[in-house]
């Protein structure tokens, strides 16, 4: 399970970074989304994915399950990161609209002055 998640997270990183290197703002936005999902998966994996672990919902009293459960704090991190990622993605899309309105094009050209 961890191996699969690690490979998947690596693929998401690679695709995200490749798209972010593009000059096209929409590709960059998609790249950012892939990257942020890759990171979320990475955080989940690095906190440990015990095989057959239960969700972190622990009942009260003696009857509570003693089975290993997934780390709730890592999930809280990811939940926060998802919200932030959404905000950033929204900003990127707004920026690409703004850029399109201002310059009539979708890609960012190189710098002419140094």
């Amino acid at each position: 399970m961890i191996g699969l998640a690690a490979v998947l997270s690596g693929v998401l990183f690679a695709c995200g970074l490749y798209l972010l290197l593009s000059r096209n703002l929409q590709r960059m936005a998609i790249g950012f989304l892939l990257l942020s999902n890759g990171v979320n998966l990475f955080v989940l994996t690095s906190a440990g994915l015990p095989a057959g672990a239960a969700p972190p919902l622990v009942g009260e009293g003696e009857g509570a399950s003693r089975a290993p459960f997934a780390d709730p704090l890592a999930q809280a991190f990811i939940l926060t990161a998802i919200v932030i990622g959404l905000g950033m993605a929204a900003f990127l899309l707004a920026l690409s609209t703004r850029h399109h309105d201002a310059s009539g094009r979708d890609d960012v050209e190189g710098d002419d002055e140094t």
Partner: protein
Amino acid sequence: MMDSLLVLIPVVWPLITAALLLPLTGRTRLQQAAALVSGGVLLASAMLLCARTARGAILVLPLGGWSPRVGIVWVADALAAVMLLFVATVSYATLLYAAGSLRGERERRYFYPLHQFLLVGVGGSILTGDIFNLFVFFEVMLLASFALIALGGRARQVRMGVPYVIVNLVGSALFLAAVGAIYGAAGTVNMAELSLRAGGGGLPGVFWGATALVLVVFMVKTALFPVFAWLPDSYPEAPVTVNGLFAGLLTKVGVYTLFRTIPLLGGAAPGGWQPALVAIAATTMLVGVFGALGRSTIRGVLSFHIVSQVGYMIFGLALFTPLALAAGLFHTLHNMLAKTALVFAGGVAERMGGSGKLYAMRGLARTEPWLAAGFFVAAMSLAGMPPLSGFWGKWFLVAGGLAAGAPVATGISLLVGLFTLASMLKIWNAVFWGEPKGQRYPGRGRHRGMLGATLSLAAMSLLTGLLAAPIFSHLERVATQLLDVTPYVAAVRAAERRDDHAEAP
């Protein structure tokens, strides 16, 4: 109660202000007045916090009542307090400057709420006691800065802003991944706990790899060599007010996080990092100053100098002695004042000439002596002329560098000081000296708020230079406390014990 309030205000107060300013959108004068009142409260609270922590007290606020190991803590020590005081000062000056400088409805409309959101992020990054919340507040700061740097939305500005946005987004993604790996390896993200566990030894290699990644991300935010390239092109394109605000605050927050984390974690790190940090600092100084020599606009030169100056601050940190660390801090505080003053003065000149190109307009010293005086004081301070604050920053840094046995890097810092002077004289000669010519819109730059903000920052730089002895001895105490990490760790852990006690029946 009073202590908790003091720790809360730098983050919560700007947030409340931002919420109150949003419904006033479109009524710019009212917004500015409200922001000034709110900024005054922020300034007063930062002064109180400085007074409260001056004797070495460390205020810890566990939010939500969780133990600091898993919960959220905010920590205010003397370093955080003094940074907050200067942040509040620079941001207040920016508010004074904004009224005359922002152009048109597009720039004015959302500046004031965004300014407050930026302060939320900056305050939170300074006060937070764990690295996950540092990530969160970095994001708050970034999102506000993204909107500010694109404020007005001219085509060229948006284009030059894109690298800033993308580099910082990738940096944040890597930061979050590293935080996840650190949590997986060490079981906590609280900085005091991490320091304790790192000192105890036995952490896996993953932990140190992830910590190195975190430091690289901080270096990106600080604009150190070789990860500074996002800064020199994007800053000069932003509106002048935003440029000044960023020059004063953003990279300095990166510097602060390095000052905070490296003593906590670096002391236990496997060897070899210190020469690397000295080399990075020295290269940053050189690259920054040479890059600035090649720029042809006022704010282009000034923005590239931010990179060079950040090198000095990190040089002080890299030497890892109380004297050098205090010198790095002094230089940071000096730079927040002087650099913002320079960008503000440059912005006024740009307004009067209708262009930021050097030599497009000359002779401002004749026609606008007060503005020229403000620029001159700040520029000489940056170049390190006595008795201004920049001189003392460099003086202590050279003393610390020689005492710590780093003569080459110290020599480089002196050489860079010479080139900084050349660079400042280049602007002075191109814009302020000579027969007045090319001042196409002199009326546009004559605004009391703009001149007042520039002059008061320059005056504060002079004052910091005249009061260098007491300020530096305070910073030496701060640096000693910072290097001896035990008070910080003990204060955070004491909050944990107090909490356990409170929860017990």
